[in-house]
């Protein structure tokens, strides 16, 4: 009998242990206050892919945190994407066209009370560029003199050979003059450089970052209008307004909570029932027939996006080396119909290689090659000697690309009368890996969002021979030279005009077929009187304004 009696206590204690953690926790309360720390404005968000260090992050969810937390020398208008001085009092270019003297505004402080001085900028930039620190954004600094010494190029790219050890720790092109003045010397003249300085990588970092980097990633300290309050990894992050902010765009709401949503559909339902204040994606199901605009009325947000989707062509594949074939593909895509039927008009058909509302762009650089013309498409296919076998269009299946890729494939198939299929690569990571290693066997989707407000942000990284994101293998000396000439132009306007001219060269070579730009779509709750998204689809946190309580 003794053995029998042991059964019950053992079973009971095992089950108790398993259930113990199931108890506890309380119900959520409802409060009347809005926008305070107890009841913050809530914003749809996702878990950032990288640690919370601005120089080591390159995803939109990370930017969503850094945008309100940091202010660089220059900032971009959330509506027009135009650059204006923020922390910089002035940025003066010397006569040699490559040295800039930056004067900082005085009295600005980091959230921990440290004053922002030239040193904070110079140290942060040097840290980001120094190869052994392995920062994701290192190559944003490659224009600065001395970059090659701190970040020597890898002789064989991703290959087995290790790059040489850096011969210096600091870039020679950065010089602190005094607490509020520093000098930037570039390798070569680069007229649009000041426009570039609003990008998130060019922010200052406080002393506390260099003392304790891991601590900083857990509790980041910036100099922007909002400061870090708390974070529950993969659940939420709360920001509070920084009272001593000296800049123009100081924000209104006292506290904003970024909430991780796995499904856009759930966030959408939450927004409709005022359980969430801002969303920056609209689920595909609600986009059908423009249903979301009907359901949300004046709460819907829709604006131009500074991005472009292209059908990039693997020029390293023999089949795609004939420009006539590439033109035939571009001519065979009925962009207007895809925009209307697949996107219900919430996209713009591309007429060039930059976003349609990009400041300083030249319109219509793609010209006739981006117009749907079945007869000419067939003519060019014939000129190229036809196409053997199946043409497979690749996309990453973890994004909402299947529908329109199928439409593009159908358009090419019906027009050219060749066999066209689609191939969904399971994850973006695998997709990117294939691009990195030049393993794409056919055309593939490529999306690019502007980093800074000049057409160069699309043209240089994607199409110059040494471009950091040139995956097509396109290389044209003339194009490279034209970009180089534009970089050395006397003024920004002149530079932009020259970038437009270079873009016309792309129409001759067609390394990628521009497709469309989707609009930035989102919505806000009734609790907010104002609130918008920026042109990079992030929520403009400083624009959020709580509605006056109505009696």
């Amino acid at each position: 009998m003794r053995k029998r009696r042991m059964v019950a206590p053992v079973a009971a204690s095992l089950s108790a242990a398993l259930l113990a953690a199931g108890c506890g926790g309380g119900g959520g309360g409802v409060t009347e206050a809005t926008g305070t720390l107890e009841d913050p404005i809530t914003v749809q968000w996702g878990e950032p892919q990288s640690e919370l260090v601005p120089t080591n992050s390159n995803d939109t969810f990370g930017s969503q945190v850094f945008n309100p937390m940091f202010t660089g020398l220059v900032e971009y208008d959330p509506n027009t994407f135009e650059a204006r001085n923020a922390m910089a009092e002035s940025i003066e270019r010397a006569d040699d066209k490559k040295t800039y003297t930056v004067e900082l505004k005085e009295g600005w402080k980091f959230h921990d009370g440290e004053e922002v001085t030239s040193d904070n900028f110079v140290r942060a930039w040097n840290y980001a560029a120094y190869a052994p620190n392995g920062q994701q954004q290192a190559n944003m600094f490659k224009r600065i003199q001395g970059y090659d010494e701190v970040h020597p190029a890898d002789p064989d790219g991703d290959g087995p050979k290790k790059p040489p050890e850096p011969s210096a720790e600091k870039m020679s092109g950065l010089k602190v003059v005094d607490d509020h003045t520093f000098e930037i010397t570039l390798k070569q003249p680069f007229t649009v450089f000041p426009e570039k300085l609003g990008y998130q990588t060019f922010v200052p970092l406080p002393e506390s970052f260099f003392e304790d980097k891991e601590g900083f990633a857990e509790n980041p300290i910036g100099n922007g209008p909002y400061e870090f309050e708390s974070r529950s990894p993969s659940q939420s992050l709360t920001l509070t307004r920084y009272e001593d902010y000296k800049g123009a765009d100081a924000g209104n709401a006292d506290a904003v909570k970024l909430v991780v949503y796995e499904k856009a559909q759930t966030a959408y339902q939450d927004l409709k029932s005022d359980n969430l204040d801002v969303i920056n994606t609209i689920p595909t199901s609600a986009q059908a027939d423009g249903r979301w605009k009907e359901e949300l009325g004046d709460r819907a947000i829709s604006k131009d996006r500074m991005g472009l989707t292209t059908l990039s062509l693997p020029l390293y594949e023999e089949k795609f080396q004939n420009p006539d074939l590439r033109k035939a593909i571009s001519l065979a895509i009925d962009r207007q119909q895809i925009v209307e039927t697949v996107f219900n008009g919430s996209a713009t058909a591309a007429d060039g290689w930059t976003a349609p509302s990009m400041p300083g762009r030249t319109d219509g650089t793609c010209g006739q090659w981006c117009e749907y013309d079945p007869a000419k498409a067939k003519e060019y296919l014939e000129k190229a000697g036809g196409f053997d076998g199946q043409m497979t269009l690749s996309y990453n299946a973890d994004g909402a690309h299947k529908q329109w890729m199928t439409a593009v494939a159908g358009s090419i198939r019906d027009t050219l009368g060749i066999d066209v299929g689609t191939n969904g690569v399971p994850t973006f990571s695998t997709f990117q890996d294939k691009m990195d290693n030049q393993e794409m066997s056919g055309p593939y989707r490529y999306g690019w969002v502007a980093d800074y407000p000049t057409p160069r942000t699309f043209l240089n990284p994607l199409y110059t021979t040494s471009g950091s994101a040139n995956y097509t293998g396109y290389s044209n000396e003339e194009f490279d030279n034209m970009i180089g000439r534009a970089d050395r132009a006397a003024t920004v306007d002149e530079a932009n005009e020259l970038y437009g001219k270079a873009e016309k060269q792309l129409a001759e070579d067609m390394p990628s077929a521009p497709l469309f730009t989707q609009t930035v779509k989102g919505a806000r709750s009734d609790r907010l009187a104002e609130g918008t998204l920026n042109t990079r689809t992030n929520v403009a946190i400083t624009s959020l304004k709580v509605a006056e309580p109505t009696q």
Binding site: K162, D270, S429
Partner: protein
């Protein structure tokens, strides 16, 4: 009994090592560079990839990597995700939520399922029996994401009886509806399982004997019939709890619950081997313990079963 449990616990060790090794090697065996997608369409600079590769020991041969990982694990260190967050912290946050949700689902499915099973078995053929059969058939046929979504839209958005989603650090109250949705499928199985087992035992000799002895019907049903009929049901509930603890990706997604299921899902998508291995190791342990618990419960329920 004590020796039996000890033996079972010792068996956990090889199972633990085997599963962690398989999971570890499988996750890192996914083709492609796990860091390639981290930097968006710009791609990552080689210096960054080199540093990450070194940090996660990916430049070592797989067995060495695994031993290094295990060494960390035995010191209580689950490692770090690619975005620099302790996996231990993530598990600590997600597990209580999943445990709450699973417990709620389990209580619902056990109470309602067993009650419905008993009711239909005792009443015999008739309206109630047909009603329960039709209802369970319906629950089995409707996928969880459909029922979850319909409940969310009807009760959350249209009627506003509840909030459409749950969010961070939910209380028991907020998890009741998701728990009900999660448990609905198993509830149907339990009802049918109980009903069938009860029907079988109803005609068994020992029941006739018990009735003939003059025991009250209540005692016949609750002590003799139910106790024997519950053996398959307990097996089902035990394994189901193990499965529920593994997280409910669909339900968690619909109601935005930050539990284990979502954690594993996003980690697999991001090829974060460290996170996947850490969480799945825990799941394996929970599963093994649940199985042990079920086996011990057998002995409690069925006097014919002895372990020694």
């Amino acid at each position: 009994m004590g020796r039996y449990i000890l033996r079972r616990l010792l068996q956990l060790i090889p199972v633990f090592i085997g599963t962690t090794f398989i999971i570890y090697s499988l996750v890192w065996a996914i083709p492609g560079n796990p860091f390639a997608g981290l930097c968006g369409p710009r791609g990552c600079p080689p210096a960054f990839i080199d540093q990450m590769t070194e940090q996660y020991n990916l430049d070592q041969p797989l067995p060495v990597q695994y031993v290094l990982y295990l060494g960390q694990l035995f010191q209580g260190n689950f490692g770090e995700t690619f975005n620099g967050i302790e996996v231990g912290t993530l598990i600590q946050q997600a597990y209580p939520v999943t445990l709450k949700l699973a417990t709620i689902a389990l209580i619902f499915e056990a109470i309602i399922g067993i009650a419905a099973g008993i009711l239909t078995a005792l009443r015999g053929k008739g309206f109630v029996d047909n009603l329960v059969l039709a209802a369970t058939l319906f629950l089995i046929a409707v996928p969880v994401f459909v029922s979850g979504f319909v409940i969310q839209v009807v009760f959350g958005v249209q009627l506003e009886w509840m909030e459409p989603s749950v969010g961070a650090d939910p209380g028991i109250g907020q998890l009741i509806v998701p728990g009900l949705v999660l448990g609905s499928l198993s509830m149907a199985y339990i009802a049918r399982l109980t009903r069938t087992a009860m029907f079988e035992n109803k005609r068994a000799d020992y029941i006739r004997t018990a009735t003939a002895k003059g025991l009250t019907p209540r005692r016949v049903v609750s002590v003799h019939m139910l106790r024997n009929s519950l053996i398959p049901v307990i097996t089902f509930i035990g394994t189901d709890f193990g499965a529920l603890m593994g997280g409910a990706i669909v339900t968690e997604g619909v109601f935005n619950i930050h539990g284990i299921g979502g954690l594993v899902f996003s980690a697999i998508q991001g090829q974060e081997g460290i996170t996947v291995t850490g969480v799945v190791t825990l799941l394996v342990l929970v599963y093994l313990l649940m199985n042990l618990l079920v086996d011990i419960l057998y002995a409690a329920l069925d006097p014919r079963i002895r372990y020694d």
